[in-house]
Chain length 201, copies 2
């Protein structure tokens, strides 16, 4: 081979991947208080999408905070950087053709808006998992609220750190009022409206 | 719905995704000097895998350095952090079922070993794109070598910053001696040997 040969990019694109997958890629971003059911809802949605043979992935604190963002804490600056990185990865996994779910408290409006700004408008669906603080605190699945009230955990959203409610989310799910099944069905309906399951071949 | 109800994880796993994709997930890591053909080879491999209906993605400087790692430079510490983040993402995209290609100079052996250490042994294929410095420098597709020689770019691998040759890579491709087609075919053969295309349903 000539050493000066310039190799060419085979150029597999997002559109190629979407055709192969028979659905479009999109980010479904779940925001809300700790305990509002973001991650559970994301995984339940993934379960339904799997039945529809969709290619999916869920990013949440469990798989991001210990690895990619293991160097970050919970100060405002670190929260911002955490969300920035997740946004950048979501941009890449959308390019990879995946229906990408992200379940993060993401309490700061400008951080969520930054993620939205990384993506095309049709590629971002913001789902606000709305649940009163009192219900989240009663659930307290991981014991975080108790520890935040006692001061053992600082900067805890809703207790010692603010949560900016979304002003104009694509969907609001009142997770203390409706079932998971209905919640998932509402998200899938919105995805259908957005054309996620229609791919022109 | 009872406000104390604990929601359950639908639990779609990597194995579910691999069955859906009809291939296994794996990381193919391309290391070598700038101009050795890493990114080109990764994209050529992706082109072939696409014909085989595989789900793939390529991470390289083009899509990572401006986004996720846009905060990093080229000091040793920043190179290490760059590779760490790519390794962590590759771990997630393997979990997502993708054949994940990563094309990075990744000059520091311990950084590459860290990535290997994040993954199961069968999930990591290190491909050393071997090409003499003189050939890379003659190619100089992006003009980096000229700028490195003039001192305009500092810490440039092979010129002003070291490259640790892999001691025991899974595959060596002499990119100044064999064609892209043959290179791709060798990688696919190794993937076959590793069982990437055999999924028990």
């Amino acid at each position: 081979m000539n050493e000066n040969l310039v190799w060419h990019n085979a150029g597999i694109t997002r559109q190629n991947r979407e055709r192969l997958n028979e659905h479009k890629a999109v980010v479904v971003w779940f925001t809300g208080l700790s305990g509002a059911g973001k991650s559970t809802l994301a995984h339940a949605l993934e379960g339904e999408l799997y039945k529809m043979k969709c290619r999916t992935y869920v990013f949440d604190g469990d798989n991001v905070r210990h690895g990619l963002c293991g160097d970050l804490g919970f100060s405002d600056a670190d929260r911002t950087e955490n969300i920035r990185r997740v946004g950048e990865i979501a941009k890449l996994t959308v390019d990879a053709g995946l229906i990408t779910m992200a379940a993060f408290i993401s309490p700061i409006k400008k951080d969520r808006d930054c993620v939205r700004g990384l993506l095309e408008p049709e590629d971002f669906i913001e789902v606000y998992c709305r649940c009163s603080l009192s219900v989240c605190e009663k659930r307290d699945v991981k014991g975080f609220y108790r520890r935040a009230r006692s001061g053992e955990i600082s900067n805890f959203t809703g207790i010692s750190s603010p949560y900016d409610e979304p002003e104009n989310p694509d969907l609001v799910i009142n997770t203390d009022k409706i079932s998971i099944e209905l919640s998932v069905s509402r998200i899938i309906s919105l995805m259908k409206e957005r054309g996620v399951f229609s791919v022109s071949v």
